[in-house]
Symmetry: D3
Subunit: 299 residues, 6 copies
């Protein structure tokens, strides 16, 4: 009876979201706990079954570090971006596309949901160009040229393969590799791919699943969660240095997605049980909802 | 959080029923309590929003008696079937099609669901022929000819208008009037219309909403509910006289629907809160489930 | 042979109208004569069978008065608009939706044409809001507040259910009830509904079937029929007081429909044999054709 | 008013034939009178506009004789079939496809109807093989080998191009040339092409327009018209020699079409005003209707 | 192996042209050599089979002269345009539509390709009006009125029948006759029809097959072929009188097509083996490619 | 000019194969030479561009051995089948799905062709069950239980995701991993997957690309190539022990595919330049064609 009452309380939310598209960016750490991945797969299956079109995007930074360490492949990171030589690119393909992507598809299958794993190179989905060599200033004031190797900047997203798959009832699961026009594979930031895909498909929501429960006013105080804010708030927090570390690129991607027409960005925990469902099916939510302007009625 | 947990427990049921068609026969008494009607509308809206195609069928016997009494139109009932002269047919149109049907459509609208009211005469949905004059044996042994007037026997159901409306996202709400090939309107038993429509559309479930919580082994003992039974059980109960009164025509319609290919019939309460949802989204259910053969694995 | 010659003379008219949409507003009195209703049904069937999409709209004022009188329900009319309390609303539903609407559908069925009866509350077709309380000036100079009760003003028309039905080969027959967003039923002027539907579906013609043969220059002289006029003519006639009584709201609706893009309004007799067909298939017509500007070539 | 009454009398016929396919075989002599051709084009336009799919088939024997005579090309006919050498085949192409076919398309255009002229070689419509050399017995008892040259026997009809055109709203007009699989053009009997096309498209009616008003019991008595008959009647008339001359191949084609599933064959006059329309829109008809078995209810 | 290597070299060209539309205007002289026509049919079949939509347009001037001479019908040409009296129009229909059009369709059939022959009068494809009487200045300075008779100027092209046929997999073959709105047939310049059709269907290439290998800088020097030029070049050549004779109307049509949005015009030989394929599948080409502006990157 | 002539010679082959489906199984060694992989991608692109639907299937045995050796993961092979423990399964995912599959998709992209990489676990494509523990007889006569671990036997193929992608213009590239109904990943023989997919999609041809040029009568004599044979021949060769080693499972898969309705199996070299194209576009071919019965006309 509780179940039925709760279903009925969920009804207005189901009605609001049916037929909409959600892009969900999984953070790398969710792969460390099979339990967390399965919980996510169940949540996504539920969204799928009440008529929401879901597209999953993922990277795999932490796993990459671990695999490189295990195999003795030294990794160099400059300005938060991994320098990707041939050997590292091979590892990225094998890890992102071969292992993590397959694990998400499998976890969804465990709940009876048919997904199709993709990289940005499949179906011409994400076109990128090699990042130009950049001048990086050293701490001693000298500058150094850095060639990031097989690192790409996104040029365009062609969502045809996504529409083809979602219209046929499949959930696309996209890993953070892109392709040049001539078939070269490039390592691309997963937050950026999620943002660009969300814009290209006209998503209604873009979720970033992170290690935190959302944006915090005070990084040291987990109770300082910001439930609801807008671009002005976020820019103020960025200026104040409240947003830092791995959250920063996510928030920058979020701002671009808002600008690109995605009306709602959700920053939530990858580990809190059912954080996505709480965010979608309750008013309170579980993390941070960012909109363009909180003083306007949201569409 | 409870809501979300309950949603997750409902997930296997949602997955099982998506895309299926349910026919729901409302008993006349549900119109007496606006509260009960709204509760039903909410339940139906939920089924609709998780992707189930719902078709509602209703009669209005009790309201008919009351209206006839208020307007001083004498009613004659022979063998459980209302003799329908011109004046009574006018009342039936006005009550079933004009008042009750509109009330169901309105109640669904209150939950944001778009329904379209129909009689069996709309879109050529239910074709009937006038019931022949019958010989009825009197208690004194004499026989009497009874002409039921504008009472019809169903000849065929053409579900085209139902598919047209459900495919366009509308819920059809059908009242128990039928049409002859030449446009005559006939009063037809609503249980029969529900059964014939369920067969014609290939429904997966046919619900009879009644004043009882389901079939009772002992009519005097409300705790003697039969949760699960099959045709053999029902025939045994009919032979034993356990099923009687208004339940009998429903059960006869149920048996015909089972024979016609509808795999599951549910006899449930029109008044118990969320009886439909309990029946659909929990294993325990709320009333009686009748299948062809309970020893076989159900499809 | 005459038949065939006449068919051939009708050919240019058939070619002109195939694939077009006509909205036909039936006046209440046509229900008083079964003969007249059947004649109309035959005419509509003919239009339907030469490829014209027909939508029928009807009210039922005269029948309402009679039914109220018979049942002893007092009726109050202010400024030509019926004050609609709960009891009167129930009568309206029963009469418009239950009796008259069913009769039109049946009459069409008699000619083999499948129609679907609708109220403005079905399929979200006509959304209305309750008319605000108004100040009415009495003859003695005092003012009085009038609450029209369940009387609605049309907010919008969503033609989706009409297109769904006409594309599937059904003729929609719409009675003059509308719905609020929350499922309330309101009594709405049928001329207004006809006008708004004609605009919403992009009708090519809107017919008003009336007790007169069309607009008369001199109300007392039935031979003073105006065959062809435009908005300027009509406004002149309104100013001169030539158009009065029940014709006035029809003409106001006609003017709004012309302004809303319906190129031709026909005011014709509901009782003259085949008045619609004469209007459609002959140059002389049978009543009054109103266009935006008779000096311009009509589209 | 007559027009409208006649339209109404035509209504049951329009309803019966909407959506059906008629194949109309024009006899060659209709081209001799522009007036007759235009009258036919008007009749066909009317059928087209009440929703009947029309396919026209024509030959051009009489015109062929005249053209050959004018150009001094000797013609040889054996057993009713023209021996077709290279020069005669060129004349056939120029006359049938170039002149007569264009004239029918133009006549239809004059009534606003868009037709597309075809030969059996267009779109792979009619595949034929060259007729084998045959032994013909001379009057003196000797036999002679006759090579008919570019005369074809129909192998198969592929109606794809006909469906493509009729579904797009065009009327196909087919002249009596066919193609071999390797592109050779052959002269084929137009009655046979009409019969084979009628079978291939599942036509409801096949019309032969002839110089007579239909089948006559007594060739000398124009009043001896047979209005309605069946295969048994026709076979009896053939045995009795009542059917002779150019009527014989038509009737043989008619019998094959009936056997191939075309339920009704009409033999009517090409010159009587509106003979097609009389046949379609009146019970009396104008010529001869042939069915499989007149004692059975016709489908 | 050569075949396979050459296929692979053709691959980039196949990829570039798949799904595009080519209009190919055949010059009249190609009909004089069955060998040349078959070679063209093979080339067109190849284009069709690698996924290019081909539309063929043809006239038949030289054959017309010959036929008229043979039949003793005097021909008058004023300013390059044939005066077309009734008798000449009949010849034009018989020759263009009856003989030449059928020959192209047959030649394509010989390679297994299904084509459908059309005139501009079929399916309302090309609407024309009769050319007005013009004043022509005589060499002696006097002027003379010339009535070209059944000669038409193109008013509009309705490509519906072309799209219908190409979408169904057929190749339309259009001869240079057009129709007035009332069914009159007019003789229209084939270069103009090709140009107007190319614009109407949004063709990517328009080919003119001529007796020369392309545009020549010096008409006397067959080696002075211009491989690649633009509108400015062509206008310079016209001004210099380099382009003359039958090439002039083609080039004027080419300029109009370029202006109308056809990006590439090819003037090539009708007789050089595989000139079309060389032009499409090699960089060198075989004749003259004309673009709007050779200094811009071509789309 | 050679190119064009060769294109024309290829035309009959192009016509024969347009719209057909080819399944191409790549052998693992083709990944060792980037040059060979690119050549294959070019060939596949050509097939794709002349309208053939291509599905690529691949394994990666040799690369697996090398990767395992490099990472020091011991590999056990029993009866030709790799025992797949957890660590080896991870390697298989990373290598097959992560590296090799991505390389094929990239190589195709280099020729402008959009492919989508899949494992049998994507979109529910290949369902498998874990291979049961088997008794293996040792050379000393003792038996040993072998648990192959994550090795699967194919239960069924659901081609929905393949049709979805090919209909949208993408080439599916499938690696040899399958999924259980509950999301477990299993290592499955690639020849078997190719065979089962070819049957499921109704392929017209199934290619096995191998290290040899085809089937050899005498393994030691590379000139003893069998160009054309049937099932009877193959069974004779199997009985005679002529077919051995890695060729044996391919041939067994080929026999099953033939039995399952795939009419033509091609065993060709992965390294001979353009072996696929030679096989498809020439009569001589390049390897071995196997049919059901070489004495029957092939469909």
């Amino acid at each position: 009876m509780d179940r039925v009452n709760n279903l009925k309380q969920a009804l207005p939310y189901i009605r609001r979201h049916r037929g909409k598209t959600f892009v969900i960016k999984l953070g790398g750490r969710v792969f460390e706990e099979r339990h967390a991945l399965l919980a996510l797969a169940e949540d996504i299956t539920l969204l799928h079954n009440v008529g929401i079109k879901v597209i999953v995007v993922h990277g795999g930074g932490p796993q990459m570090n671990e695999l490189a360490r295990k195999l003795g492949v030294p990794q160099q990171v400059v300005g938060g971006r991994r320098v990707t030589n041939d050997e590292t690119l091979d590892l990225a393909k094998m890890l992102f596309r071969g292992k993590l992507n397959v694990e998400i598809v499998s976890a969804l299958r465990e709940f009876g949901t048919l997904a199709v794993g993709l990289s940005g190179g499949d179906g011409g989905l994400v076109e990128a160009t090699r990042r130009p060599v950049v001048q990086v200033q050293e701490s001693d004031g000298s500058t150094q040229e850095v060639d990031f190797g097989h690192v790409g900047d996104v040029v365009s997203v062609n969502p045809h393969v996504l529409h083809t798959l979602t219209n046929a009832g499949f959930i696309p699961v996209v890993c953070s590799l892109a392709s040049t026009l001539t078939g070269g594979i490039l390592n691309v930031n997963a937050d950026t791919i999620a943002e660009r895909i969300a814009i290209a498909v006209g998503a209604d929501k873009l979720f970033f699943l992170t290690d935190r429960s959302g944006l915090l006013e005070d990084a040291a105080d987990l109770d300082s969660l910001v439930s609801y804010c807008d671009v002005a708030d976020v820019e103020r927090m960025l200026a104040a240095g409240v947003i830092a570390g791995g959250m920063k690129p996510k928030i920058n991607a979020a701002l671009k997605a808002l600008k690109g027409g995605v009306p709602r960005i959700h920053v939530i925990s990858a580990f809190q049980a059912s954080s996505i469902l709480l965010e979608v099916f309750t008013n309170e939510g579980s993390g941070t909802l960012i909109v363009n302007d909180k003083h306007e009625v949201q569409p």
